[in-house]
Amino acid sequence: MRILLVEDDDMLGDAVREALRQESYVVDWVRAAGAALAALSTSNFSALVLDLGLPDGDGLSVLRWLRQNGRATPVVIVTARDRVSDRIGGLDAGADDYLIKPFDIDELGARLRAITRRADGCAESVLTAGEVALDLRQRTVTCQGEPAPLTAREYAVVELLMRRAGCLVTRAEIEEELYGFDDHIASNAIEVHIHNLRRKLGPRFITNLKGRGYRVESSR
C-alpha cells in the first residue's frame, strides 16, 4: 500500500516514514501543501497521513481539493490542533480520522488499516482467496494454513490483488502501489514478484491476463 505522508517537521516526518516502512507500507513524504497537491495529481495513493500546520497553507486545503475532485482517498489527519472544534472541522471537511500529536504509531497503523478497509468496502480483517488467507492486521499471509514467507513488496502485491479480488489489476497499478517517487523500478520487477508469488502461494493463485494485467479470483 502506498501512503502519502504530508508533514513539514523533519524529525517527525522521518520517524513516521521509518515506522510505516517497518509495517511494509510504501511511503512518499512531502513537506508542503503544494507538493502534496502535485503528488496527488500524478499518482494514486491508498491513504493520506495529513498534517495541518504546513508552511505554505492549511492541510485542510489539500483535503478539500481531494473531496472537491471526487477523490475518495482515505485521509487521517495528524495534528497539534487539539480543540474539539478543530476535530469536528477536520472530520466535516472530509477526513476519515483525526489523530492529535503526540500519538502512538501503532494506533496510526490501526487507523490506517481501518480507513483503507472501509474504502475497499471490506469490513473483515482477513481476506481469503482459494487456499490463501491474508491477515490485514498482522500483515501476514498463509497458504493452506501454513505461513508464507513474503518480502515486503511481495506482500504489497498480494494485498493489492486480494483487495481487488475478482478485478483486473494492471501492471501500472501494481507499480504505482509498490514504488514511491524516489524508488528505482527495474523493468521486469513486477514479473519477478509475480513469479515468486506463484512459487510460494501456488500456481493458480494469480491469473495472468496477458497484456492486460493480473487477477486473483474472489472466494465468493
Binding site: D9, M11, L12, A15, A19, D56, A80, D82, P102, D104
Partner: protein, 447 residues
C-alpha cells in the same frame, strides 16, 4: 477621615466658645462699668447740689440714695478726704485716681470693681464700687446659655460629617467588597458609577491597572498555549522514534533509531530553552535601562558556545569592534548575538562566511551580523519575526523562535533592527541599532 473631620470640628467649636467668652466678657465689663458710672454720676450730682446748698455733703441721716445690690460709695474731696461713706464702705479711699476711671480692687476676701468720678463744678469726688462676682455670675449664665446651642450644633455637625462621609465612601466600600470576593483571575473593571468626584480618579486609575493586568495575563496565556502547541510536534517525533527503535530488528537499525532519538531530544531541549528565554523577555521582565556592557565579554562567550557547530561546518566567525560598549545587560546581549550568529551558521553552506561587527555612531551602538547563506527573501522579511514562523526553504533544525527573541530584545532596548541583502552575492545582513539613552518607540524595518 470622619474622625479627623469631627475632631477638627471640635477644635473649631472650642475656639469659637473661647472667642464668644472673651467677647461676652469684654462687652459685659463695659456695660457694667457704664451702669456703675451712671450711678456714680447720679450720686455726685446730688452731692454737688447739697454742697452748693451749703450743707455738709451728707447729713448724719441715712444716705439719700439707695444703691442697687451691694454697691458702696464714698463722697470725698479731690485732696483725698472722705466726707461720706455708704454703710459698709471702707474708710480709706477706694481708688486713688481723680479723673474718671475704673479699676479692680481687693477688699478683704472679695474683689470689687471701683470707679471714681470728679465733679466739674465742685471739688467733690465720688468713689463707687460693686462686687465683681455679679459680672462673673452674669458671664457664666450667658456662657451656659450659649454653650448648650453650641454643643448641640457640634453634635449635629459631627453627625452630618459622619453621614456625608459615609455616603461619599459607600461606592468605595462597595468596590472594596466586590474586589474582596472576586476570583483570582477576575480582572474586570470596577463600577465607577455614582462615585463622587474626589474618589472617581481612584476608580479610573484602578480600572486602568486592571485592564493592563488583564492584557498581561492574556498575553501570558497565549504564550503558554502557543508553547504547548509547538511542543506537540517534537514530542510526537520522540514518541514515534522510540517506537521505531523498539521495533527495530537489527542492531544497526536500533543504533540508527536511537541516534535519531538523541538528536530529537537535543532539538526539543533547544526549543525549550528558546521558549524559556522568550518568556523571560515578556512584559514584566526587568531590563535595567541605562546598563551597558562591553561587547568583548559577551562575544567571547557566544563564539565559544557556538564553536562546535561552527567547526562542524568549517565556518569561521569574523569579529570586529568588540572593544565598544553596547547598551543592555550581558544576558540579553548574549541572547541577541547568539541567536543571530546561530541562525547564520545554520543557514550557510559548509565553509561559509559569518561576520559580526560592533560600531559606535553618535549616541547609538551598531551591531552588524552578516553571512553568505541564502538570505531572506524580501517577501518573507516582515513575517520573519513572528513566533514559530519558519522561513520556507530555511535550514533544518531551527525552532522558529530565534528572530522573535531577537526582535523582542531590540524592542526592550528601544532599538531598531533591519534585515537586508548584501551589496553583492547572496546572504543576509542584519543591522541592529541600540540607543544609549532610554527607550523610544521601536521600529522593525525590512529593506
Amino acid at each position: 477621615m470622619a474622625i479627623a473631620a469631627a475632631s477638627a470640628a471640635c477644635v473649631v467649636f472650642m475656639l469659637l466658645g473661647l472667642l464668644v467668652y472673651r467677647a461676652v466678657a469684654a462687652s459685659t465689663a463695659v456695660q457694667f462699668d457704664e451702669l456703675l458710672l451712671q450711678q456714680a454720676t447720679l450720686a455726685l450730682r446730688y452731692a454737688d447740689h447739697e454742697y452748693r446748698e451749703g450743707d455738709t455733703v451728707v447729713p448724719a441721716s441715712a444716705a439719700p440714695l439707695v444703691m442697687p445690690f451691694d454697691v458702696m460709695y464714698q463722697i470725698g474731696t479731690r485732696a483725698g478726704q472722705i466726707l461720706f461713706r455708704s454703710p459698709g464702705a471702707p474708710v480709706a479711699a477706694l481708688t486713688s485716681g481723680e479723673a474718671r476711671g475704673c479699676t479692680n480692687v481687693t477688699l478683704g476676701a472679695r474683689s470689687w470693681r471701683a470707679c471714681s468720678l470728679s465733679s466739674r463744678s465742685t471739688p467733690l469726688v465720688i468713689h463707687i464700687a460693686e462686687p465683681l462676682d455679679y459680672r462673673a455670675a452674669l458671664l457664666s449664665r450667658t456662657m451656659r446659655a450659649v454653650a448648650l446651642p453650641l454643643a448641640f450644633a457640634l453634635v449635629l455637625l459631627t453627625m452630618l460629617i459622619g453621614l456625608v462621609t459615609e455616603r461619599a465612601f459607600r461606592p468605595v466600600r462597595r468596590i472594596a467588597a466586590d474586589l474582596a470576593q472576586r476570583s483570582d483571575d477576575d480582572l474586570s473593571a470596577v463600577n465607577t458609577a455614582e462615585m463622587p468626584v474626589e474618589t472617581y480618579a481612584l476608580g479610573v486609575a484602578l480600572n486602568g491597572l486592571l485592564a493592563r493586568q488583564a492584557e498581561v495575563l492574556a498575553r501570558e496565556r497565549r504564550f503558554t498555549a502557543d508553547a504547548a502547541h509547538e511542543l506537540r510536534t517534537p514530542l510526537a517525533a520522540l514518541r514515534v522514534q522510540a517506537q521505531v527503535a523498539a521495533r527495530a530488528t537489527t542492531a544497526a537499525e536500533t543504533r540508527n533509531a536511537l541516534d535519531k532519538l538523541q538528536t530529537n531530544i537535543d532539538r526539543t531541549t533547544h526549543l525549550m530553552s528558546q521558549l524559556l528565554s522568550l518568556s523571560r523577555l515578556e512584559p514584566g521582565s526587568s531590563c535595567i535601562p541605562g546598563q551597558v556592557t562591553e561587547a568583548q565579554r559577551v562575544v567571547d562567550l557566544v563564539v565559544d558556545d557556538l564553536a562546535p557547530s561552527a567547526r562542524d561546518k568549517q565556518v569561521a566567525i569574523a569579529v570586529a569592534g568588540c572593544h565598544h560598549e553596547v547598551p543592555g545587560s550581558p544576558e540579553v546581549l548574549y541572547l541577541l548575538l547568539r541567536n543571530l550568529l546561530e541562525n547564520s551558521i545554520r543557514n550557510v553552506s559548509a565553509g561559509g562566511r559569518v561576520a559580526l561587527e560592533v560600531a559606535r555612531r553618535d549616541a547609538e551602538a551598531l551591531l552588524t551580523i552578516s553571512d553568505d547563506g541564502p538570505g531572506i527573501p524580501c517577501a518573507e522579511r516582515s513575517r520573519a519575526f513572528e513566533r514559530f514562523y519558519r522561513i520556507p526553504g530555511s535550514a533544518v533544525g531551527g525552532s522558529g523562535l530565534g528572530l522573535s527573541i531577537v526582535g523582542r530584545i531590540v524592542e526592550l532596548l528601544g532599538g531598531e533592527i533591519e534585515l537586508a541583502a548584501p551589496a553583492t552575492g547572496t546572504g543576509l545582513v542584519v543591522t541592529v541599532t541600540l540607543p544609549f539613552t532610554s527607550a523610544h518607540t521601536p521600529v522593525r524595518s525590512a529593506a
